[in-house]
Symmetry: C2
Subunit: 398 residues, 2 copies
Amino acid sequence: MNRSLFLSNVRTADGQAVSVSIVDGRIEALGAHLQAQPDAALEDGGGALLLPGFVEGHTHLDKSHWGQPWYRNEVGPALTDRISNEREWRKTSGHDAGTQSLALARAFVQAGTTRLRTHVDVDTDAGLRYLEGVLATRQTLRDVMDMQIVAFPQSGMLIRPGTVGLLGEALAAGADVLGALDPALIDGDPAASLNTTFELAQRYGKPIDIHLHEPGEVGAFSLKLLLDRVAATGMQGRVVVSHAFCLGALPERERDVLLERLAHLRVALLTSAPASRPVPPLKICKEKGVTIFGGNDGIRDTWTPYGVPDMLERAMLIGLRYDLRRDDDLALAFGCVSDTAAEGCGFDNYGLRSGARADLVLVEADTLAHAIVSRPKRKLVMANGQIVVRNGEWLKAA
Amino acid sequence: MNRSLFLSNVRTADGQAVSVSIVDGRIEALGAHLQAQPDAALEDGGGALLLPGFVEGHTHLDKSHWGQPWYRNEVGPALTDRISNEREWRKTSGHDAGTQSLALARAFVQAGTTRLRTHVDVDTDAGLRYLEGVLATRQTLRDVMDMQIVAFPQSGMLIRPGTVGLLGEALAAGADVLGALDPALIDGDPAASLNTTFELAQRYGKPIDIHLHEPGEVGAFSLKLLLDRVAATGMQGRVVVSHAFCLGALPERERDVLLERLAHLRVALLTSAPASRPVPPLKICKEKGVTIFGGNDGIRDTWTPYGVPDMLERAMLIGLRYDLRRDDDLALAFGCVSDTAAEGCGFDNYGLRSGARADLVLVEADTLAHAIVSRPKRKLVMANGQIVVRNGEWLKAA
């Protein structure tokens, strides 16, 4: 392992020509007139655009059939159709969460993602089996990816007795975050469901990331109950609400009251910016001080055939969903898969700055906006100060 | 030029292993147990998925800066901001419609598109200059692409005296279709604007393709006026309404009356399936018998930084917009960029069938849905019976 590496001849998103000095896996310095240390390995960036390693704020590594023969989707349209279909398929298909999470996580690194939050199903059929697979993947990729694991009750929590205990075991076994799911429309008892979630999170000292698909007024109701509990338990800054479709479909005044409470309680929002659903208003969230970041959600699984493990493509889809056309607006879309996602998930030592972990991506693109719309092959990916990918290909087995 | 070509070892979207016999640029036969003619050139498809050449139903080849240095978008949000900004930029930037339309059209062929409808700006500043550029591109690519040109009054028609005359000249000079634009919100006089459009189309014996961005009730009003004129002039089957955002935002009953009239008058709809706008309901249109097909709209121009000349990606975006997840639903998305687009635009001799023009695409994909979500490099593109692209690269200059 090279202690020092000097990356010259790259451009930052603001157009500046810079070099980066990297020591012991950290960015020691980044600027226009740096000199390489005598013992540093030298890397010429060839004038490429320099970006920070990308952040995936919400995916489901354990569900994917990435790299496997095509899964023919004949699933019904309801949320419960999809949940049942998946649980049955995972029991009977031989799908292995360890193998599949590794295949997909490696594809993420190959496309420049070095920090990732994944939700992993915990249910009374599978127990902690999927979690064990993803924990093994995290261990395998520990040198190149910083992975947060959310213990996620995909099949419901209160409606499946035994699930609460399993979630506790998952947190004890290495999950970093407690997941949750639609306390009204899946669990059927929003107050009790949220009480249980907050009690569990506090018992294990873990943050919360809840899937809230509930639409319109019912979603707003669940969200209000959730915010009450954030305040009551002192969990400010430790809760993420994923999807939050309801915030895309409320009257302005009602929505803004919720946004102001979200900002005040430092509850962050995650969006995959789906083209077919209402979504929280990105720019208004930012104006109100709400942290909102991006993620792919599931990639090529029994829920959806779509998705690629490329955060530049997700930034593009965010840009399309929010009609971001100006270059300065596209920078917001990129923020959703970089610094804002790091902030929302709590990944530290992030960014293109002295002292941050040296997670870097080089692409051949004129500008940041150009990189987002063209999604070029990654010329170079560096994780923890080590070059792991060149011209889109892995340099070493992991 | 080989008179005969025999393409063996390919799979159709329904999973059948077939060969294709091609003679004089046409599909002579396609099936499971064909024999090559003795004089045929032989091509082994390597088990790849066989698709018909793609159809781009709506783009703007003349506006793009494809392949040029990045255009920094700092444009205001209104339609009129974008129109004025573009007209000024095209006057002063040295942008050349001939060069740019050729670059983009070649990129379309490279990704498997062999039929394309492009709208070309006609206005009182530029006259027919952009049309001349695109006519030259059509001539250059005549052996590999079937191109329809729409004479499009991007800056308005009645509000810019002289435009009607220029549109007539454009139709006389080789444009195939008369374009039009928002008769109420741009032209300010919907009845007069539509009367002029229909008179001009009839005088030159050309079909119509109108950009209708007008939202909700005003769009519905313009659409109703348009349908009245289709009936009055006997132009059934010869009119396309592009975008038709209004049909995504009307009360069901009002919308369905319009859809039923569209079906009855055989007026087709074009959608780019934008993620940020209301869109006509795809499946309901199909149920009502309305032809609805897809297109990219502008690609990397002063309006939008987005877009790639790849109809598989557009099919993916259509699938995402309409939440099409099942394999049978993704086939509908592909229809929007293949047979339904050929029908909507009136491209004849289209498809994977005996007698059709031999426009074929091979991709490495398990299934049609897999091809759409993964958008692999084109293994082979054949246009008019000639192989023009292999492994994503052109074989000959054009």
